[in-house]
Symmetry: C2
Subunit: 492 residues, 2 copies
C-alpha cells in the first residue's frame, strides 16, 4: 500500500479499509470474519464504553454477566427470536480434543465428547437472561430489573467488513424487566434517547431517531426504536437500537409476577444495544483523505507534542519545555502525549498522528523555543498556527471545545444537505442514484410495498421518524394513501 490513502471520492470502500489498517485500528484475523481490534482502535472503544457505562449507571442500570453459551432448548424457546438468528449461529457440539492417531502431533475432536445438547454461542442474550429472570422475579417488588452487560457476541457472517459487520463483535446489551407496559415503553424510549445523546454529543454524529418498520425490527420485538446516521458516501448506518419486547420473552420463558393487586401477570421487557459498529460510524462520518478525525471527547490522545531537533542539546531543551506543558495540561485533565521516540523522524510522526486523528498537534523546534512559541496544527482543517507559549493552554482549551461542536455542525450540515423529500418513484430512484442520503417519501405502510421498493432500489426504510410530520400523501410505489413520510436510504 502507498503512504497515501485512496481518496474517498475515488473509492470510498477502499478508503475506509485502508484507513482502518493504516491507522492501526483493526485488522482481519486468521478466524473467518473475526477481527483483531488493535490498541489504537481499542483505546477509542474504551472511551466510548466509559462514557456509555456512566450514562447507563446514571439512569439506574447495573452491570452483570451472563454465560457465553445458550443451550439449544432455551435458544429456540422464543420462536421469532430463534428464527431470526438460527442461520448465523456458531454451535458448540463437543468439549474435548484428543491426539489424532493418524497424524503425529495433531489433534482431533474426540467423538466421545459429544454434548447431549448443543450450545449456541450467544448472538444476543435474551434467551439465557429471561430463563434466569424467571428465577429472580416473583412479585412486583422484584421489579424493575435494570441490567446491562458488556460482552462479545457471535453472528456468523458470510460477507464481513471491519467494525461494520464481523462474525464476532463487542457490544453492550441492556435487558430490563418491568411491571407495566408503559414502564417498559418508557425504558426503551429512554435508552434510545441516551444513545442519541451519546452519539451526538460525544461522537459528534447527528442522528435521526425513529422506529423500525415490521420488516426491519428486531426478531422478537414489538417495537424497535433506532438511531440512524448518515455516512459520507450517502449510505445510512444503524447506530443503535432499543427494543420494546412486550411480553414475548416472559411468555416464552413463563416469567410471571404477582402484581400489587394480587393478580399474576407476565413481565414486560426491553433490550437495547450498541456495538463496535460505532467505530465504523466514527471513521465514516469524520474521516478525511488524510485519515481519521477524532472528536476531542473520545480521543485517547487529544494533544500530541512532537519535538523537532538536530542534536541532543536541542532535544533536551525541547523536552524540558514539553514536560512542563505536559504537566500543565494533565492538571487540566487533558489527555496529552509527548512523542520523544528517537527512531522516527518528525515527518513520519506528523503523518501517523494525522492518520490516527489526534485533534491537536504541537510541534516545538529550536526557533520556537527562541521565540517562546509553538506551532499548533488543527486536525479538522489541517491549518497551522503559531501560538505564543503564554496563550497555549487557553488556546488548546478553546480549540478542543470548539472542535467538538464544529465536527458535529459539519456532519449535521452534510446530513441536512443529503436529506431529500421526494414525491414520485422516479424522483426517488433518481435521488438514490445521483445523490444518496436520506430520502423522505410516502409509503402505504405495508411490508409488501417496502420489500418491493427494496428489491427495485436496494433502499430500505431506515425509520419512521420520531417527529414524523403528519401530511396527506400517496405511496411512491402503490399510490395508496399515506399520512406521513418515512425515511428511506441505502444502508450498511
Amino acid at each position: 500500500m502507498s503512504k497515501r490513502l485512496t481518496p474517498r471520492s475515488q473509492d470510498y470502500s477502499k478508503w475506509y479499509h485502508e484507513l482502518i489498517i493504516k491507522a492501526n485500528l483493526a485488522e482481519s484475523s486468521a478466524v473467518r470474519g473475526c477481527m483483531i481490534i488493535k490498541p489504537n482502535g481499542f483505546s477509542i472503544w474504551e472511551k466510548m464504553q466509559a462514557q456509555l457505562d456512566q450514562m447507563f449507571k446514571n439512569t439506574g442500570h447495573q452491570n452483570a454477566y451472563f454465560p457465553l453459551f445458550v443451550p439449544k432448548s432455551l435458544f429456540e424457546a422464543e420462536e421469532k427470536n430463534a428464527e431470526g438468528f438460527a442461520k448465523e449461529c456458531a454451535i458448540v457440539t463437543h468439549y474435548r480434543l484428543k491426539n489424532n492417531p493418524n497424524a503425529e502431533g495433531k489433534l482431533m475432536v474426540d467423538p466421545q465428547s459429544k454434548l447431549e445438547e448443543e450450545l449456541i454461542v450467544r448472538p444476543t442474550s435474551e434467551a439465557i437472561i429471561w430463563n434466569t429472570y424467571k428465577n429472580w422475579i416473583q412479585s412486583y417488588r422484584d421489579l424493575p430489573i435494570l441490567l446491562n452487560q458488556w460482552s462479545n457476541v457471535v453472528r456468523w457472517e458470510m460477507r464481513t467488513r471491519l467494525f461494520l459487520r464481523t462474525s464476532e463483535f463487542l457490544w453492550q446489551e441492556g435487558h430490563t424487566a418491568h411491571a407495566t407496559k408503559q414502564e417498559a415503553l418508557n425504558e426503551a424510549q429512554l435508552m434510545n434517547e441516551i444513545y442519541a445523546e451519546f452519539v451526538e454529543k460525544h461522537m459528534a454524529i447527528p442522528v435521526l431517531q425513529g422506529t423500525k418498520s415490521e420488516n426491519e425490527k428486531f426478531a422478537g420485538a414489538e417495537t424497535t426504536y433506532c438511531i440512524e446516521a448518515l455516512m459520507q458516501d450517502g449510505k445510512a448506518l444503524q447506530a443503535g437500537t432499543s427494543h420494546f419486547l412486550g411480553q414475548n420473552f416472559a411468555k416464552a420463558f413463563d416469567v410471571k409476577f404477582a402484581t400489587k393487586s394480587g393478580n399474576l401477570d407476565y413481565v414486560w421487557a426491553t433490550s437495547w444495544g450498541v456495538s463496535t459498529r460505532l467505530m465504523g460510524a466514527l471513521v465514516m462520518t469524520h474521516g478525511d483523505d488524510y485519515g481519521l478525525v477524532l472528536p476531542p471527547n473520545l480521543a485517547p490522545i487529544q494533544v500530541v507534542i512532537i519535538p523537532i531537533y538536530k542534536n541532543d542539546q536541542e532535544f533536551q531543551n525541547i523536552t524540558k519545555v514539553a514536560n512542563n506543558l505536559m504537566n500543565r495540561f494533565s492538571k487540566k485533565q487533558y489527555r496529552i502525549s509527548y512523542d520523544d521516540k528517537q527512531n522516527h523522524k518528525p515527518g513520519y510522526k506528523f503523518h501517523q498522528y494525522e492518520l490516527q486523528g489526534v485533534p491537536l498537534r504541537i510541534s516545538i523546534g529550536p526557533r520556537d523555543l527562541k521565540h517562546n512559541q509553538v506551532e499548533v496544527s488543527y486536525r479538522l482543517t489541517l491549518e497551522k498556527e503559531i501560538i505564543p507559549m503564554n496563550q497555549l493552554v487557553d488556546y488548546v482549551e478553546k480549540k478542543l471545545t470548539s472542535m467538538q461542536n464544529e465536527m458535529y455542525q459539519k456532519a449535521l450540515k452534510f446530513q441536512t444537505n443529503n436529506t431529500t423529500n421526494v414525491n414520485s418513484f422516479g424522483e426517488f430512484e433518481k435521488i438514490l442514484n445521483d445523490k444518496g442520503g436520506f430520502v423522505l417519501a410516502h409509503w402505504d405502510g405495508t411490508s409488501e410495498t417496502e420489500q418491493k421498493i427494496q428489491a427495485k432500489t436496494k433502499a430500505s426504510i431506515r425509520c419512521i421518524p420520531k417527529n414524523q410530520v403528519l401530511e396527506e400523501g400517496k405511496c411512491i410505489l402503490t399510490g395508496k394513501a399515506s399520512k406521513g413520510r418515512v425515511v428511506f436510504a441505502r444502508a450498511y
Copy 2:
C-alpha cells in the same frame, strides 16, 4: 435456606456457597459449569478491573482484543500448550441451525453447515495472538509489544464451584513480545509484582510470591511466577500467574525479528493473567459467619446510610440530614449510598448489608437527630459506636483507612500462624491433617517425588518461594539433599 449462613467452622464449603448466593454475588446458570455474575458481584469485579487496568497502563501496557475462536491448526501449533488444554475445550463445529422436520417449532444443527476446520473457544489466547504477532514483528524496532486483553475464556470443567472453577470465566490476559530473554524475564517478574501489589494493597490479602515447579507450571511456559494466598480453611489458592514463555511460541509460530546487529532471532514472550477467581479469594479470605467483608478500596458501596423511622415526618427529617451527608461524603470521593427503600424494614437492610460486606453502616433515627449524632456499625468487628455529627466525616475517613490495613494485618496474622516448617514426612502429614496452611519442607527437586507426595497427601508444591532461604536439608520423602524449603499446601 435459612436466614443465617452455615458457620464456617461447621462446613466451610457450604458457607462459601451460601454466602455467594445470599449476598447475590453469583449463581449457577442453565449452562453446565457456567455462572451468572450478579450485579453485587460484578460491581466488585469492576472495581478490581479498574484498579488493575490502571496499574497495567501505568507500566506501559495497552488493551486490545483478539478473536474468541482459535482454529484447530493454530491451537495445536505449540504442542505443550495444546496438550495442556486439549481435554477441556469447547469446540465449534457448525455455523447454522435449521428447522427440525421431525419436531414442530424446534431447531437442529444443519449438517450442511459443518466447518472445514473446527474452532476452539479460547481457553487462553497465546496461539491466536502469536499467530498475529508474526505479522506485526519484523525488526527490533517493532519490539516490545505490551498488550493486555479483558475477555472471557472457556475451560470445560467437570467439577465447578462459583468463581473458583467455572467452565467460562472472565479474566485479563497480558501477552508481551521482547527482543531479549532478560527483558521478557523482567516483564514476567514485574507483572507478578504488580499482581502481588494489587492483591495485598487493594484486596488486603497477603500472598507468597514464587515460581512453580515443573509439574505445576503453565503448559508452554519456561517459568511460571505466581502469587499464592491462604484461605481460612487452611487451603491455598493460586491468585495470579505470569509466565516467561521463552521462545516457545515464537518457534511454534515462526516469529523472527531482525536484531540491531542485523541477525535474525526468535522473539521472547510472556503472558500473565488473573481472573474472576480473585472474587473467590476475596470471599474466602475476609468473609465471616455474617457474610462478606469488603476492603474499602474495592467496596462498591463504602458507607450505607439507613433511616429508622415510624412516620413520614420522621422519614423526611432523616432524609434531609442523610442527603446532606451524602453530599459531603461524595465531595470527598467516598462511595456512599442512602437506602431509602420503603419496602424493607431496617433489620432486613442491616442483614443484607452485612451479607454484602459494606464496610460502614450509618443508621439515623429520630433520637439521633435530636442529639445530633448517628450510630455507625463497623463491618469488620460488628462493633457499633455513637458518633457526634460534627465528627462523622473525620471518623469515616479514618475508619476506612484503618480498616483496609486492619483487614490485611488480620489476614497476614492468619497466614503467619498457619505457615509451618516441618522436617519429616510424619510431621508433614500431621500438620496437613491437623492444621493445614502453608507447609515449608525440603524436597529433592524432582517431579517424581512431588507427584508421590501429592498422591499420598493431596498437597502440592504451591511455589518455590522468591526469597527462599538457602539451607542444607533432606527431602521429607526421599531423604535426598535439598538446598532450601518449598511451600506445600492443599489447594483450590
